[in-house]
Amino acid sequence: MTLARRIIPCLDVDAGRVVKGIEFEGLRDMGDPAELGARYNREGADELVVLDISASFQGRATFLETIRRVAEQLNIPLTAGGGIRKMEEGRAVLLAGADKVTVNTAAVERPQLISELSQQFGAQAIVLSLDVKRKGNSWEAYTRGGRDATGRDAAEWAAEAVSRGAGEILLTSIDRDGTCSGFDCELTAKIASTVQVPVIASGGASTFEDFLDVFVRGCADAALAASIFHSETHSIAALKKFLAERGVPIRLSR
């Protein structure tokens, strides 16, 4: 009996469409979120993450509608977030069909937000989205989609967020994101050893070996990736088979 390591595809959503950020190019359309969600559900994803990358006030209703449409397609857990600033916004995301809500910028500005959400909905429903950049021998937390440095040590902020009731950490290496150079295993292992909640590693995934590495060396509980799954570079089923054959506890679909 073993708790399986999870493989989690991520949908970055803008104006109701899944998009991918391309350097100097802007956003490329990757498809319909409900269709992609249904495909990943079918292919054996352990969970799905949907992030509102526009996070604009006008786009909020569209995003909630996207959550509703995606949730209808799933019989696996759904995590959603992006720009959640208030308790009521978190509630709306959960009522729309998400099982967990992510918080980042607003929680750094007002950590009490985590406490409020956790008291209301339980720690299992609150995910701290932690975007970090390496700074010498440590890592610094960033907000606003990786644009603003917070001056806070990532491990120290992770520990505070957990003590306030975050039940999981979605950890993104900004340095690795989009580079296809593999997960930052050192970072993941550092955060995983600092907090007693599951850590989802994100940023840099390219090969099957990268996933093996982040589970073995990075001690990640789950690994998240977006474009390599959307573009069908890798099928989730093939990745899971690869990991299972190398001794990683994995839920294989039948």
């Binding site: 959960l94 339980g122 999981e168 789950a222």
Partner: protein, 201 residues
Amino acid sequence: MKIAIVDYGAGNLPSVERALWKLGAETERAIEPKQVAAARAIVLPGVGHFSAFVAGLRERNLTSSLRAAFDAGVPILGICLGLQAMFASSEEAPGEAGLAFFPEEVRALPANVKSPHIGWNQLRRVRESALLREIPNDAYFYFAHSFAAPASAAATVAACDHGFAFAAVIEQGNLRAVQFHPEKSGETGARVLRNFLESVQ
């Protein structure tokens, strides 16, 4: 037959409803005691805090109608917090009384393991189970919880380990309960719900 899903004001009912509809079941949200009293099968879903759950039941006067349904032999399926609420009390809310269908206390997962216990885990079968009928022994189920009932509870038919051995599936008389989320556990979870529906029809 319509399945009454108890709506205590804070659960995530839509995913449970959708999972039951996909299996051809009709559902209604039970928010009043008379709906619980008239029900021929009841689902008690729940996420969040033990005290919010039992307070929600109390404020809607649903506690005594649920006890009456239990006494009358109406099949009841508890999910996650719905399982925990069937016990006498919980460390999550000292002093708050649960439905007390079972005498044990629900306990916090210990500090030496990651908590919440989030993700897909397997079960250890204790005895034959109606809910797990035709599900392979190594199947995975999705868990998301920080508290759990001890596996030593007499009604435990399948256990799971995370810090301590806890009750993952409970069956006793007309009571059924699962600590995992069948509505989030893929095809395996759908089979658990189908087994429940078949046992009440």
